[in-house]
């Protein structure tokens, strides 16, 4: 009954068609958490209220008020500049201060959940619905169903209300201006007409990938691409059509073909032979049937796709790879003598984390958060490693600190499990130290913005929406460095699956988390956009139209000239 991050996902990425059993007969249908989002199974009491406009308006208004109140209050209590007395309602039954207010959606009653004050109120008054103000997504309790009910309309209202409050209360840091109010996409009449004739397909695709000879490293990375919502949406929207592409050995086309295979009606395993062949042609070092490192292939594939993607450039590229994976690191070096700070900003596509501290000892109780803390810990640079530009003396003690300046929509982590020992022993060691990764992570503490806030005083780095990420894929490696096997887990909405080359099986969250990750992928729960800008694909399309029209005119002019010349020839020849 806990709020599902994917209900937000649904609201954000639009209505997705529900799971259809026919297209995937070989895969066991999940006990449908989709049921709550399926109109047929919607709470009938809520449905009947929503069918009556004035009743609906009443519930909706109260709901929005409650959500906005809580959003503002959270912002106020976490924002140090606004640390004034925070409003605290009291329970209408027992008068105690309410830390987790439940609010009736029919009247002004607020009450405790744990002592059943709110549920008693609902029973006594015959009011049906109440809402808990402090959940991360819209949840309404129906006293007839005796259950929390989830509804697309409620979810959407919750999202848009919280967003509105945040827009009003937060500003851009550098430009010091307000945010652009969010406008949901509404189809134009042309769009609606076009949409009427579209065949809907299930939005989940799962197929095993055949091992073509030590190619499990390829399969796990491909599965991580397939389950990557941003890549999936890009290729399913036909943004790189392999039939129109003029590149040869185009890895971007291979991605398009891959998605076509995954979303085709068959769900038997297939072999990604042409993807492999293209990878070999473009990157000779990846060729051959020896086992490759999945992470190396990951970076190679990203670079290949970027290179063949339309509109890719070498400086601040806007291709799908950079839009999805590109972030920035900031490295701050502080001179101990004069205090000057030199900052460098570097681009990154993923984050590689050490499992051992500098002294070489494996840390106990490793978690993703502890690895990130180690990564962003200030580190003393030796006297010989740095010379300050401001001080006159040559070498000083300095402190270097890494932080994340820009967070990408998809965060890819690699745990450095393969160490090349330089001391005597030639064989590289694999570090099997267990790592605990969370289902969701808030990245604020590791960002430049948050870390630069005054020590001691916890600053407010912005709303959580900027920093929350959800796990969607995990890659595992068993065995030794050169003699091992890759498998992976991936999530669709709420359900986890395990992939072992061609074998795909339903799995659970805890199996995934206990599997000891080598790489893992998180997707941002809320995407941000630059304000007041036309989307680049629209600009590109408009430029294309202008260019096509110019070409048409030229062709027409050339044709007319031919006709004129022929006429002249006829007249002249008399």
């Amino acid at each position: 009954m806990s709020a599902s991050p994917d209900s937000t996902h649904t609201a954000l990425f639009g209505e997705e068609s529900t799971f259809s059993n026919e297209a995937h007969p070989g895969i066991e249908p999940s006990v449908s958490s989709d049921a709550s989002e399926n109109d047929i199974d919607r709470c009938s009491h809520l449905a009947s209220v929503f069918a009556d406009p004035p009743a609906k308006a009443g519930i909706v208004d109260k709901f929005k008020t409650a959500v906005a109140w809580h959003a503002r209050r959270t912002h106020d209590s976490l924002h140090p500049a606004k640390r004034r007395k925070v409003s605290s309602p009291t329970c209408d039954t027992c008068d105690q201060a309410l830390s987790r207010p439940f609010v009736c959606l029919h009247c002004s009653f607020a009450g405790c959940w744990s002592e059943a004050h709110i549920t008693n109120h609902l029973k006594e008054t015959g009011h049906t619905f109440c809402t808990c103000t402090d959940t991360k997504s819209g949840s309404v309790f129906c006293s007839e169903c005796e259950d929390f009910v989830f509804d697309d309309i409620i979810d959407e209202l919750h999202l848009s209300t919280v967003l509105l409050v945040e827009e009003q209360n937060t500003k851009f840091q550098v430009a010091k201006r307000g945010r652009e109010p969010y406008q949901p996409w509404v189809p134009t009449s042309d769009d609606s007409t076009a949409l009427k004739y579209i065949a809907t397909v299930p939005c989940q695709g799962r197929r095993g990938l055949l091992n073509l000879g030590q190619t499990c490293f390829l399969n796990v990375i491909l599965q991580s691409f397939i389950h990557n919502p941003l890549l999936r949406n890009y290729f399913l929207s036909d943004r790189h059509n392999s039939r129109l592409c003029k590149h040869s050995d185009c890895t971007c086309c291979e991605m398009d073909n891959l998605f076509t295979e995954i979303y085709s009606p068959t769900n038997t395993p297939f072999g990604p032979t042409s993807f492999l062949a293209t990878t070999w042609k473009v990157s000779a070092e990846m060729s051959g049937y020896a086992q490759q490192d999945a992470h190396e292939f990951f970076i190679t594939a990203l670079n290949q796709i970027h290179g063949t993607c339309r509109g890719s450039t070498n400086i601040s590229c806007n291709c799908i790879i950079h839009q999805t994976f590109a972030g920035q690191f900031q490295s701050d070096v502080t001179c101990e003598k004069c205090g000057t700070v030199t900052s460098t900003i570097d681009p990154m596509l993923d984050i590689s984390l050490e499992l051992r501290s500098k002294s070489g000892e494996p840390a106990t109780d490793n978690t993703l958060a502890s690895c990130l803390r180690r990564y962003t810990k200030p580190e003393k640079l030796g006297a010989r490693e740095y010379s300050c530009s401001k001080c006159t003396k040559a070498s000083h003690e300095a402190v270097k600190r890494l932080s994340i300046r820009t967070l990408p929509p998809v965060l890819s982590f690699q745990f450095k499990r393969f160490e090349h020992k330089t001391s005597g022993k030639a064989a590289p060691q694999k570090i099997d130290a267990p790592i605990r990764i969370p289902v969701s992570i808030n990245m604020a503490p590791y960002t430049t913005l948050a870390m630069n806030m005054k020590d001691g005083e916890t600053g407010y780095p912005g709303p959580d929406a900027m920093y929350e990420y959800d796990l969607f894929a995990v890659i595992n490696h068993e065995g030794q460095m050169d003699n091992g096997h890759y498998t992976n887990f991936a999530r669709f909405r709420d359900e986890w699956y395990r992939f072992d080359d061609d074998k795909v099986t339903p799995s659970t969250l805890s199996d995934c988390l206990a599997s000891n990750a080598y790489m893992c992928f998180y997707v941002k729960r809320h995407l941000d956009y630059k304000p007041y800008m036309k989307p680049t694909y629209l600009v590109a399309r408009e430029n294309d139209i202008v260019r096509e029209q110019a070409m048409e005119r030229e062709k027409e002019a050339a044709r007319m000239k031919e006709v004129d010349d022929a006429l002249m020839a006829m007249v002249g020849g008399d």
Partner: protein, 98 residues
């Protein structure tokens, strides 16, 4: 009821109220959430709730809550408990030593 129990209750209600008004409750909750998430407690509960409900018939919110409540309380890692308790003690000290 002994006098000390009702005194404790009154104190609890007062501390609770002040923490909420002060905003301290929300800040502590934020900290507690991130610590519990890092320790895997939150994910463990999520997994249990999900797997329990998969085979539950009839599916009931109250049953899920009952099944999870005692485990949730006992499985809070000791270090997290200690840390938050210390913060609460500090708050009470500051508030009532004026």
């Amino acid at each position: 009821m002994s006098k000390s129990t009702s005194e404790a209750e009154t104190l609890y209600v007062e501390v609770h109220r002040r923490m909420i008004e002060n905003g301290e409750w929300d800040r502590m909750l934020h900290l507690l959430s991130s610590k519990l998430s890092e320790s895997g407690w939150t994910d463990d509960l999520l997994h249990r709730a999900k797997e329990n409900s998969r085979t539950m018939d009839p599916l009931s919110l109250q049953t899920i809550l009952q099944e999870l409540l005692s485990h949730a309380q006992t499985s809070v890692p000791l270090s997290v408990k200690r840390e938050i308790t210390t913060l609460i003690k500090q708050f009470v000290k500051e508030q009532f030593e004026k």
